[in-house]
């Protein structure tokens, strides 16, 4: 029995189809371990050999890895949610209700929301770890800067997503948040110095051309804001974040590897 099982296994592993996908086979020798890392587009994010300090959880806390994984989870669940969700004032709320009550395995929205919260926390912890180990010091300075931008993008992703359920929690959190844009000096209608910008009696900055209007696409949080936040949430910010993540990971390798003294 055992030998027949081994035969079957052998015939699968040695088939042309299998070999065309997995070139290296089981990485049970050092040479194969090197080839496994080099030959796989995902794995070759990593170098073939890592310093032991970069592998130990007690130093890295895997916080950056968890953050990236949560980003992938959020991309996947977000994509699924997009099949049911329509970003209009009319449908947004009922579609969310639908996602909860009618759609099979209706925990996608939960995974998405809790995943977003978890990602915010994990990205903070990642930053905290990088600071406490002094891993922003030369030659890693610029990667810290990219990391700060990614932190801001994470918060913006979460913030834009907060509006989409179109419930009381959403609209008022975004009203309060976006109103701060109208306090931008010189660019927001309530900002300091804005009232000084005028030609004769005509104010240059009004409620239809200030910073908040550009953000919301309207004078208040309405249909325009919902659509804008939806597009930013689903396409705009994720694309920028994905690009910067690629740069971030690349620089981790180029600037001295994962964690540990340089």
């Amino acid at each position: 029995m055992a030998s027949r099982w081994r035969d079957l296994q052998q015939s699968i592993v040695s088939s042309q189809f299998w070999k065309s996908i997995f070139r290296v086979g089981i990485p049970n020798t050092n040479r194969k371990r090197v080839l496994a890392m080099l030959g796989n587009v995902v794995l070759h994010l990593h170098p073939v050999k890592t310093r032991k300090s970069g592998v130990k959880m007690r130093y890295t806390w895997c916080a950056g890895g968890v953050t990236f994984f949560l980003f992938l989870v959020l991309t996947f669940t977000g994509l699924l949610l997009m099949f049911y969700y329509r970003p209009t004032v009319e449908y947004a709320f009922v579609d969310i209700l639908d996602l909860r009550e009618q759609v099979p395995f209706g925990i996608m929205r939960e995974v998405h929301r809790w995943g977003a919260h978890a990602m915010v926390i994990s990205v903070w912890i990642h930053m905290f770890r990088v600071f406490m180990t002094g891993s922003y010091k030369p030659p890693r300075e610029f990667n810290w800067v990219i990391g700060v931008i990614l932190l801001v993008l994470t918060l913006l992703l979460s913030f834009t997503g907060y509006l989409l359920p179109w419930d009381q929690l959403a609209i008022w959190a975004i009203t309060v948040g976006s109103n701060m844009a109208s306090a931008t000096p010189l660019l927001g209608i309530q900002g300091p110095g804005t009232s000084l910008l005028k030609i004769g009696d005509i104010q240059l900055v009004t409620s239809t051309n200030d910073a908040r209007f550009g953000l919301l696409g309207g004078r208040f949080v309405g249909a325009g804001a919902l659509l804008r936040f939806y597009v930013l949430h689903c396409v705009g910010i994720p694309l920028i974040a994905a690009f910067l993540m690629a740069v971030h990971f690349w620089r981790v390798r180029k600037d001295g590897g994962i964690s540990g003294p340089v």
């Binding site: 970069g54 130093y59 806390w61 939960e110 959403a170 000096p185 900002g191 300091p192």
Partner: protein, 361 residues
């Protein structure tokens, strides 16, 4: 029973912002120098206190009501996670400091001398992490429904209306500063300041390993900002700010009708009316000259004064550009607690109040 009530009332009283911030600032500075905490035994005691305190608090109906709101559950998680990692990083920092004092390299230095194959050592660590995270996410999602309130109604503001929880630190700043500062200027300064850290901090030590002794100042400033002025204000905004943005102790009922007298006055009113016994001048520049002088001194002159006195050591060690940017950023960070104390002690609303141009500080 009476004892429990007494303890609850004491905690309610002591968790008012003025005591909470004071306690946290002093407590942080004392704690990071108090070695017994940063050992496994100390960590176990701290964890028992924190978990026991929060666990017992769930028995209180008022605490329970707020802490079990679905969107507030992650913040309870954040308290434990940030607390744990704070303890964990400081423990490793002290362990490394001991090694360095003995003339040995830090743990990380020893480990980084060896290299291992990424397959399987690194790849499997990652895989295990991902499986655990996914399992936690699924269980969490099954047991806790995502919140969904009434459909959006633009004419009916809920009370209190809160920003998403990660911005509650900023919303807490709104109590003390105008939106252009708390919502625009300070967030921008936080972002730029974070980005500037590697270029200001020229200390070559502590690069890539946990240490406290070699980076005392950097770590103290960062922890003050991150733990007290960011994470703790989020906890404050989530659990202790109720209807009308009034303060409520953790065991206090969120009474919509709680009346808190808010009779804050501006610096110009204090000086012109109370001290000089005159009416407010009409022209804004004269009316606000004291406030403008104070702010100007704080922003422009103080870094210069410090460079000759208090922070002379830093001025001589860093080059002037790094020194002035670094000190200005630190002063901006300290502006928040300073304004908080001015509010609590003098009921000060604005240092500079020029509503003519919506310019209030």
């Amino acid at each position: 029973m009476a004892l429990i009530e007494f303890v609850k009332n004491a905690i309610d009283f002591l968790s008012a912002p003025q005591y909470l911030v004071t306690g946290a600032l002093i407590g942080l500075v004392l704690a990071i120098h108090w070695r017994p905490i940063w050992t496994p035994k100390g960590g176990a005691v701290l964890f028992a206190l924190l978990a026991g305190g929060i666990g017992l608090s769930y028995l209180d109906p008022n605490f329970n009501k707020v802490a079990t709101l679905p969107d507030n559950v992650p913040i309870v998680g954040m308290i434990f996670l940030v607390g744990f990692f704070f303890w964990f990083s400081m423990t490793q920092a002290y362990a490394n400091d001991r090694r360095i004092a003995e003339g040995r390299p830090p743990f990380e230095g020893e480990d980084s001398a060896q290299k291992v194959f990424s397959w399987p050592d690194l790849v499997y660590v990652e895989l295990i992490c991902l499986v655990i995270v996914m399992a936690v996410m699924i269980v969490w999602s099954i047991y806790l429904k995502a919140p969904l309130e009434e459909p959006a109604n633009p004419t009916d503001s809920p009370n209190p209306a809160k920003a998403p929880w990660y911005f509650l630190g900023l919303q807490e700043m709104l109590v003390y500063f105008d939106p252009w500062l708390a919502g625009v200027a300070f967030p921008s300064i936080i972002i730029v300041g974070l980005m500037a850290i590697p270029y200001i901090d020229t200390n070559p030590k502590g690069n890539g390993y946990f240490t406290f002794r070699e980076r005392r100042w950097e770590i103290t400033i960062f922890l003050t900002g991150f733990l007290v002025l960011w994470c703790m204000l989020i906890v404050l905004g989530t659990f202790l700010r109720g209807p009308n943005w009034n303060f409520f102790g953790p065991y206090e009922f969120w009474d919509v009708n709680k009346l808190v007298p808010l009779n804050n006055i501006n610096l110009s009113e204090i000086i012109w009316i109370k001290v000089l016994k005159r009416s407010l001048p009409n022209f804004w520049l004269i009316r606000e000259m004291f406030g403008l002088a104070v702010v100007g001194f704080y922003v422009a002159a103080l870094p210069l004064v410090f460079s000759k006195t208090l922070l002379r050591r830093f001025y001589e060690k860093m080059d002037p550009v790094r020194y002035f940017i670094g000190v200005s950023l630190a002063l901006m960070m300290l502006a928040l607690p300073i304004k908080m104390y001015l509010r609590w002690i003098f009921n000060l609303k604005y240092i500079v109040a020029i509503p003519e141009f919506a310019f209030n500080i």
